[in-house]
């Protein structure tokens, strides 16, 4: 009875605290608010963009080909008369989806591997860490380009290639955290109490590793989006008629002299989106680092 009452009270308190912390984060710097605003807008557009789009992103209308921006076509049209505003909106969903899948795969695989390696130690840890060293010792984009080229040009292969280059970062991050945590009292206590490795990972380690992983993810989202578009630009990623931003820019490249709007608007969309995620990630990292948080607090006053 009493426990129930405490729990009822605890949930809203936790929510209130989360809300207060979010408010503090947003007020700490105008750039934090800007980043969070851009990210929120992009996520909303990714979810509802198709409903808001005035035209079907793949609808051809040759009579309206290469029209400059107007009230009918806000971002103009391409050489096949497709409405670029609708295509850019559709591209928002692709970019967000792609980033979610790339980071989802690499975080799930990399973090778990890092936690297990850190916890088990010994030969397994040694092998895992040398393999991550090998991956990290190689420029990620070149490796991703080589893998994407090997698998053949397609958006799915690009996603897979980027997941392959992203996971080692998370393995190293998670292992480092686990090394610091595994001798701490609560883990030792759990061990003494007879908890299994899986229980310790899920119950004690994961929740301590996750905040740092979240910050890293927010910093990596922008990079994942940029790399996807760059690979599409090189012809290794999304194929026509997919309205991926990098692919739209590539298509518009040869028309840049006559139709400046074609590569310009998807580029602005991509740059602003990546800027939003980078601002958010950068702000989060500063916010979590207590030394820098002090300086931000001073900034407020």
């Amino acid at each position: 009875m009493i426990a129930g009452a405490v729990r009822d009270d605890a949930v809203p308190r936790r929510w209130r605290r989360a809300l207060r912390q979010t408010g503090g984060f947003l007020r700490a710097s105008r750039l934090n608010a800007l980043g969070a605003g851009i990210v929120a807008a992009v996520v909303l557009l990714a979810v509802f963009g198709r409903a808001l789009a005035p035209h079907d992103p793949n609808h051809l209308d040759l009579l309206a080909a290469l029209k400059p921006p107007s009230s009918a076509h806000w971002f103009g049209t391409d050489n096949l008369g497709r409405d670029l505003f609708s295509r850019v909106l559709a591209g928002a969903r692709i970019s967000v989806e792609v980033a979610v899948i790339i980071l989802g795969l690499s975080v799930a695989f990399g973090t778990l591997l890092g936690i297990v390696a850190g916890l088990v130690g010994g030969l397994l840890e040694e092998i895992v860490m040398r393999v991550t060293d090998l991956f990290l010792a190689f420029p990620a984009f070149i490796l991703a380009a080589a893998i994407a080229a090997t698998l053949g040009p397609s958006l799915n292969h690009t996603v897979l290639a980027l997941a392959v280059v992203f996971w080692p970062w998370y393995t190293r991050l998670a292992r480092g955290q686990v090394l610091a945590l595994r001798e701490r009292e609560f883990v030792l206590a759990a061990r003494v109490a007879g908890a299994g490795t899986m229980w310790i990972v899920l119950r004690h380690l994961l929740r301590n590793v996750l905040p740092i992983v979240v910050v890293q993810v927010s910093l990596d989202v922008g990079y994942a989006m940029l790399a996807t578009s760059a690979l599409s630009f090189l012809g290794l990623g999304a194929q026509p008629p997919t309205p991926e931003w990098g692919a739209i820019i590539t298509d518009g490249r040869s028309f840049i002299q006559t139709a400046w709007w074609w590569p310009t608007f998807p580029g602005i969309a991509l740059a602003v989106t990546v800027l939003g995620f980078n601002l958010l990630g950068d702000g989060l990292r500063d916010w979590i680092d207590p030394r820098l948080r002090g300086s931000l607090g001073g900034l407020q006053e």
């Binding site: 010792a137 380009a145 790399a227 578009s229 630009f233 990098g246 002299q257 310009t264 800027l275 900034l299």
Partner: protein
Amino acid sequence: MGRLIARRLAFMVFVVWGVTLVTFFLSRVVPGDPAKLLAGPKASPTEVAHIRRIYGLDDPLWTQYGRYMADLLHGNLGVSFVTRREVTTDVRAFLPATLELAGYSLLLGFLAALVVGTVAGYRRGSALDAGGRLMAIAGLSVPAFWLALLLQLLLHTRLGWFPLGGRLDAGVAAPPRLTGILTLDSLLTLHLHAFVNALWHLALPVLTLAAGVFGLMTRIVRTSILEVVGEDYVRTAQGKGLTRWRVLRRHVLRNAMLPAVTVLGLEFGLLASGVFVVEAVFQWPGLGNYAFQAIQASDYNATLGATLVIAIAYVLTNLVVDLAYLYLDPRIRYT
């Protein structure tokens, strides 16, 4: 210190070997068939089979890999199927253009970051600081290929100030080749017209690549300035009446440079990816363009050679960074 260097060198060898292993087997699963490519579109199946036999492409993969490694140890990277030249010759031809591009970008980005990062660090919390941080993050957020197109559109097509691409105008005679780095060669041989023309061609690609370098470096410089400015020795230097400039140069910048040196390795990764797309947009005859065309044409030897050169350069950069760090920070040297 000697042991540290030995360990780094051993790791370097391991990494380069790992890279050959990964790229070799990756490149062999590419769907293209280099024998068909070499034989030409009208070749009969027997001719294709003949070429496959000459180049040893029908041997088991491990045999091919063993042969490749044996050649590699003799400094032989094989023959490119597309250019029909030794890959080492190709690399020698294309690498200087990339080095020139990357070098100037690194220099420009670094100098700009030094100024903006220092101002932002000194004026913490001011509008200048926020502006510097926004500029830095914007530099990292703008897609290089798009920025390249935009610069071409504005500064070439609209204003006509800079050329569209390439390293020299068609009418300008290239200076005699000493290093392959055009600005250096033309200066050394006093071909001033070629020097100006080469710089003029470098402007747009360098500006594009420098944006990323600037973005990464500004944040590092700002953070380390913030840390150093609060140190006792800086207060002491100020207290003994040194001028502001002297404190900045002798005490603040010198110590704040350490972290900036360590991110050179990261910068390299950034530049390596930027070079790929920027060289493609500006038709820059560099290694990035070469590697990209090799990947698309399933030109095994060229792909492997180019990636290997990039990997070795990357590992070497990191080694130099480590050594520079040892040199700059005596505390590490003596422990």
